[in-house]
């Protein structure tokens, strides 16, 4: 498309101003803070690389990092697959489908404190719904103490997080599905392509820019998930369910270690930034723009 030289800059100007003032400014301060000891209450004190050295030598940090990767490995595919499935289900022309579209979106808009309360009941060791079902219908003799179990706490959190989040990704997938011209499916049906074939030959390729976008934001979500941990386990038992974003929150606000928290945040930015960078490089190969 042809356009004037400064036109694009005018289009991005408001956003760039906003990003510089309200996002990059504070981010720069956080970057500086990562080289200091700062309890927020009193002025920071320069530490040079102290926080980064501590981070590398800190066992808890590596445990938390491992937890974060595990969480991401469950969360990202879980959210992507389920939300696409849901979007396709509610994209059908069926009576009452709008009702289901609404129901599927409920978890995303409900306050986390309320959601957490219910899920803690579901996962409760002795009187939980889940263990009731397991012992009575599946004859599991000794079901785990889900949220209090070192092995199960994190996967349990990931399930709740997926459940809470999918409505959001579903909505974006739905908007994407709406953009695929119906004529393509009609033509394919005339050619005798099966539904499965249509999915792989039409839906997936045409959805790929949106899928890519959803993938990126889901990865970012995974790394920034904090509310679920905060409301459900507080990172317990003994840090078994602490993920990076929650660890950052703890250090920033509960432990009064904003400097260390900022160093952790820089590390998180580096990891997610690298993942995003790689994704963008792969994008050209995997994503089809219908240009």
């Amino acid at each position: 498309m042809r356009h004037g030289k400064i036109t694009p800059y005018l289009f991005i100007l408001p956003t760039i101003i906003g990003v510089f003032v309200f996002r990059l400014g504070p981010t720069a301060v956080a970057a500086y803070a990562s080289f200091t000891r700062w309890n927020v209450r009193t002025p920071p004190e320069f530490l040079a690389l102290g926080n980064y050295i501590e981070l590398i030598n800190n066992e808890t940090f590596w445990l938390v990092f491992r937890n974060t990767l595990l969480f991401t490995a469950i969360f990202v595919p879980g959210v992507m697959i389920i939300s696409l499935l849901m979007a396709m289900m509610v994209n059908q022309k069926l009576p009452g489908i709008a009702f289901f579209r609404g129901l599927y979106f409920l978890p995303y808009i409900t306050a986390m404190v309320a959601v957490a309360m219910v899920w803690r009941w579901i996962f409760a060791t002795r009187f939980g719904v889940l263990n009731y079902v397991l012992t009575n219908f599946f004859m599991v003799a000794d079901p785990p103490a889900w949220l209090a179990d070192k092995t199960w706490a994190l996967p349990s959190l990931a399930i709740v997080a997926i459940w809470k989040q999918v409505g959001f990704q579903m909505l974006i997938f739905l908007a994407g599905l709406q953009g695929i011209p119906a004529t393509l499916y009609e033509a394919a049906a005339i050619d005798g392509a099966s539904k499965t074939k249509q999915f792989f030959n039409i839906t997936l390729p045409l959805l790929s820019p949106i899928t890519f976008f959803i993938f990126i934001i889901t990865v970012i979500d995974a790394f920034k998930t904090f509310e679920v941990t905060f409301a459900m386990t507080g990172g317990g038992p003994n840090n078994a369910s602490t993920t990076l974003a929650f660890y950052i929150y703890q250090n920033a606000f509960t432990f009064g270690r904003m400097g260390y928290a900022s160093a952790l945040a820089m590390f998180l930015m580096l990891i997610v930034g690298a993942a995003t960078f790689i994704s963008f490089r792969l994008k050209d190969r995997l994503v089809d723009y219908a240009l």
């Binding site: 500086y32 209450r41 803690r120 507080g234």
Partner: protein, 461 residues
């Protein structure tokens, strides 16, 4: 290639921005100081005028409180103070507990702390060492008659090096043993008496543990606890144990403390009179006793309020001393105050003190005190009203006797972090692994010592 180039530029610019950001931060205090000075000079002007004409000057002073469920009651106190001081407006704000500290810290960073605010025992050392709390010792010396106050808990709000008070308690709590009288009657066990011992406690707990049908699912445990501070420290002190060294700068559990911890563990794994903590996951810790899942429970007396609500008429219950361990010569109670502090830069410290003195004195009657907390002003605490004779527990007066035994605490700077107060890690996480049968006490203790001292070393190198 193009993207690589762009990313290189991005990172270069990010670093540039970072370094500029550094400069910006370095400048910031200077800029802020000017604005702060402006405010200060304005306000010190008003302060000066106030001294000249104290009665006519209109003063607005902010007061932050952390308990929304108590907002209306507190408003009554605030209104009374404003009625007595017509020239004063109290800007009274209540912030839900989870966000209270975040907001205070942000305000502190902006050099805009409220004049008066609630201060908890767990954080007070930290705030004192940050120099953010006004030294109120001169006011206390001038205005406070020690005979009228429970001075035993004052140590918690003192600056550990100067001994001066930097906050003033408005109420305090003690940990006590809650016990289910109906369950005791059913098991034919005598109620806990003063001076009862671990052996007597264990005998009672065994009788109170009920497994109907011997199916391995215990319907009622004799006792229950986990790694929470109120659950653990109470037993340590009742065995004359200490978790910290003499000057409270390092974690160093002594033999008596270890004996208490291993006694607690034996309740679960040897005697089976208490559940592993993970068995109770999913039930709020303060509900286990009220729901009848355990016949005894040690926690803070503030739970009297919640117990009344949840237990209702389900069973009769009372409060009792925590049993004495073999090493205890007498009783050592574990208690701490909730306080009010003055922000170090408050322009009206005299008025702020006057307000605190009012809020913590005779005006705060029992109906204006949170159930289960003890008002710091002893004539009120010793009044007939405190006993709340029409409600359970019928021996609420025991709290006042027990309060006379108040001993040390484990509060230090960084306490929340090494104790695992909010995140269930640290001390709490490690000891819970022992109670859950996943680790042995010796390993856990060495881990705790290493972790806690790592935290404490940041404050006491």
């Amino acid at each position: 290639m193009k993207t690589i180039k762009l990313y290189t530029i991005l990172f270069m610019v990010m670093f540039l921005v970072v370094s500029c950001g550094g400069a910006q931060v370095a400048e910031e205090p200077a800029v802020e100081d000017t604005s702060a000075e402006e405010v200060d000079s304005q306000e010190s002007e008003t302060a000066d005028e106030e001294m000249e004409e104290p009665m006519d000057e209109e003063i607005t002073m902010s007061y932050f409180m952390w308990d929304p469920s108590f907002e209306e009651t507190e408003q009554i106190m605030v209104d009374k103070f404003m009625a007595e001081n017509p020239n004063v407006t109290i800007d009274f704000q209540v912030i839900g507990t989870p966000d209270y500290w975040t907001k205070l810290e942000a305000l502190s960073a902006a050099d805009d702390l409220p004049c008066v605010f609630n201060m908890s025992a767990g954080f007070v050392d930290q705030w004192i060492s940050d120099g953010l709390l006004y030294d109120i010792q001169p006011y206390v010396d001038a205005d406070i008659n020690p005979d009228d106050y429970f001075t035993g808990v004052f140590d918690v709000v003192r600056n550990k090096s100067t001994g001066n008070m930097h906050a003033f308690p408005f109420a305090f709590v003690e940990t006590v043993m809650f016990y289910n009288k109906d369950a005791f009657d059913a098991a034919g066990v005598p109620y806990p008496a003063e001076g009862w011992t671990w052996d007597e406690f264990l005998t009672a707990a065994q009788a109170l543990t009920v497994d109907e049908g011997d199916d391995g699912v215990v319907e009622q445990y004799g006792f229950w606890f986990y790694g929470r501070y109120a659950h653990i420290e109470s037993w340590v002190y009742q065995n004359d144990g200490r978790l910290l060294n003499e000057d409270a700068t390092r974690f160093a559990a002594d033999d008596n403390a270890v004996e208490a911890l291993s006694f607690l563990d034996s309740l679960i794994h040897e005697h089976g009179v208490a559940p592993e903590p993970k068995e109770m996951e999913g039930i709020r810790q303060q509900d286990v006793f009220p729901l009848g899942l355990a016949a005894m429970w040690v926690d803070g007396a503030w739970n009297i309020n919640g117990n009344r609500e949840t237990i209702g008429d389900d069973f009769d219950w009372g409060i009792a001393p925590i049993p004495r361990g073999p090493q205890a010569a007498g009783d050592t109670a574990y208690g701490w105050p909730d306080s009010m502090a003055i922000g170090a830069n408050c322009p009206h410290p005299d008025l702020a003190w006057e307000f605190i003195n009012f809020m913590t004195g005779p005006e705060r009657t029992i109906d204006l005190t949170f159930g289960g907390k003890i008002p710091i002003y002893s004539p009120v605490a010793n009044s007939e009203e405190f006993l709340e004779a029409d409600q359970l527990p019928d021996n609420k007066g025991f709290l006042l006797e027990w309060a006379n035994n108040t001993g040390p605490t484990t509060f230090t700077p960084g306490w929340g972090e090494w104790r695992g107060y909010t995140d269930g890690a640290g001390f709490e996480g490690q000891i819970d692994e022992v109670f859950n049968g996943e680790a042995d006490l010796e390993t856990a203790l060495s881990n705790i010592t290493e972790y806690a001292n790592g935290v404490l070393e940041r404050f006491y190198p």
